[in-house]
Subunit: 376 residues, 2 copies
């Protein structure tokens, strides 16, 4: 999958061995990351971004890679995360396939890809690996850790495992634990991949590749990342022109089907199936209650940041709004000046990627405030 | 699939040829049905029940088959649909595999199962076939047509195609047209079946059977038939005992996964995959706007019934509540005394099958009223 690592990606070697939460270890592991802006002399203007399941570290364009990143409208000089002001780091998650060590990378012990011999991955392992990057860059304390979706879970783990490591936190469409509806969806996505005969217990290659399973998993993902309300307005019951239809009685007929098909085609060969399984499962396992004697709120209340913002949208069915409210309340219970900000975006879980008109000002306001406080 | 036709099922021969809306015809077709109660001398106490995608005609136990039916708590002497009072007919949908003609039944022209040579099925074809059963039983005008889910669509088609055929109508978690989220879910279910190599263009048998595709389709169905809210309370993050877990790193771990697995196992071999494809597609095609020059409300307003009730639940993501509201408003525009009744059931689309405490009294009240008016 090396062809999908963005130009300008940089690397940090992980401590070796890097021991995993559930057992197992990695020797010679590495983390991919990119940065924007400059670390100031005091070293107190750094922001870490932790991503959702599939993005790489290329959140936005920069001198070494002018291609637009996955959060291009959010990140850059004069943008909501203003890189004229902040030194911003985005890491590719541990277990992913965009440069960081994961099931698709080479196990130095065998010279072959790890595949399912990669240690069982927890959200906490990803958080510790991201912390290693921050420390390698000479940063003692982040101004802010921002986590989106799965990254929202990873950010909470980061703060729990590394007390004092950040002044503030923005949790974007995240949650403190996976709930059964989301577990069911992800379990079904994983099953679609595993049931594909070409998955073959993780031993596929480019020729025999679980394309079918990945297509189903991605389509189910897209269905749950967006919202019915948005699609009513966007697609309605519009049908494809007859010349676009396949000669197949059950082939594509509605615009919404073509939209899903486009997503599935782009994704199936772009993300490694074993990495997908590992990262997906890590979300199901994550539960802040483990840090609070079985109580999520107690776990969240152990986090110490000065200021926090938890944002979500009403139409999110995968990380529903009450989960962002819970995060805000839990951080408040821990002493943070903590704000819960529900947004009326129609785009569902993915809104933070596309509804910059709503998410941008919210994030900008928060960061402007902590910048002013810091400059005091 | 003949072993899955309930005992006591009766049959009506369809007019031959039976011509389909989109072309094609059936010779020697038949409809399976069951009845409860007795038709009175005036012939004005008959109720027709049109089902969702998968049920058979066995809505409740009766003398010829004491086994509990799929709406057992709703239907029987003294129950909300009181068979001491009403003569109730439930049909197995045209295109299904529980006795009525469908892709799994024998094409008399070839002596082989129809498979994909079965004519393209529309909701309207099912409505016309149900009407043929009602007429064969000597009923000129129904006291009420009740349609649940897909049957709610079929009931609207029944009333549009057969003006004056019913005094009243209860639409249960139905809709006047499919919206893109529901189309996307069903398209994905069909794709999972079609991508299973054992589906083989519809030419499977008991040995080479698209079990994988059916499992995925069913699990996705169950996920969308229920609600996240219900599952939070019901499953939470409860895990299986370790002895119940498989020796598989991605195997079942949470209770919610076992629940889905149980549903998938029960369903995969119980319903014919080609029939599933046909019925599923017919829902995507259905659009009352075709009867109203492109306007759903105008189409609904063409329906003439004296009294109507449209019921739904707030947690339904597949047939969302605004669709039941639209049905109620459209029927009111057509002159009916039409009530929209939103219920707070937590069980999602499937609530009408399980939340009898809420649905029962609503249906009973409506039927009691039309009974009194009729006797009045």
């Amino acid at each position: 999958m090396t062809e999908f690592i963005p130009a300008g990606t940089r690397y940090v070697e992980l401590p070796s061995p890097f021991v995993f939460k559930r057992g197992g270890e990695l020797r010679g592991g590495r983390m991919a990351y990119e940065t924007w802006g400059r670390l100031n002399a005091a070293g107190d203007n750094a922001i870490l971004i932790l991503t959702g399941l599939s993005p790489n570290a290329h959140a936005a364009s920069h001198a070494d890679n002018p291609e637009a990143g996955w959060w291009e409208a959010m990140l850059g000089p004069g943008k909501p995360i203003d890189t004229a002001r902040w030194f911003v780091i985005c890491v590719n998650s541990l277990g992913s396939c965009k440069g960081s060590s994961g099931p698709a990378s080479i196990n130095p012990g065998t010279g072959q890809p790890w595949r399912l011999d990669f240690p069982e991955l927890s959200i906490e392992d990803g958080a510790r690996a991201a912390h290693a990057v921050v420390r390698a860059l000479g940063i003692e304390r982040l101004a802010c850790v921002i986590g989106c979706s799965m990254g929202g879970m990873a950010a909470l783990a980061y703060l729990l495992l590394h007390p004092g490591s950040a002044r503030s936190h923005i949790n974007v469409s995240g949650s403190a634990r996976a709930l059964p509806f989301s577990i069911a969806i992800r379990s079904l996505q994983r099953e679609a991949i595993r049931l594909d005969p070409n998955w073959n217990g993780g031993h596929y290659d480019e020729q025999r590749y679980p394309e079918t399973g990945m297509r189903i998993a991605r389509k189910l993902g897209v269905v749950t990342y967006r919202s019915a309300m948005e699609w009513d307005g966007r697609f309605g019951r519009v049908k494809l022109d007859s010349e676009c239809r396949e000669d197949d009685p059950f082939g594509l007929e509605f615009e919404v089907e073509r939209y899903l098909e486009g997503h599935a085609r782009r994704f199936a060969r772009y993300f490694d199936p074993n990495c997908y399984l590992y990262l997906s499962r890590s979300m199901d396992w994550f539960d802040v209650a483990e840090y609070g004697e079985g109580d999520v709120m107690k776990g969240l209340a152990k986090i110490r940041v000065e200021r926090a913002l938890s944002i979500g949208v009403e139409t999110d069915i995968l990380f529903p709004l009450q989960q962002q409210e819970q995060v805000a309340e839990g951080l408040r219970a821990g002493g943070a000046d903590s704000e819960f900000l529900p947004l009326p975006s129609p785009q569902g879980h993915d809104a933070f990627l596309v509804d910059i008109a709503r998410f941008g000002p919210a994030i900008e306001r928060f960061l402007t405030r902590i910048y002013a406080e810091q400059r005091g």
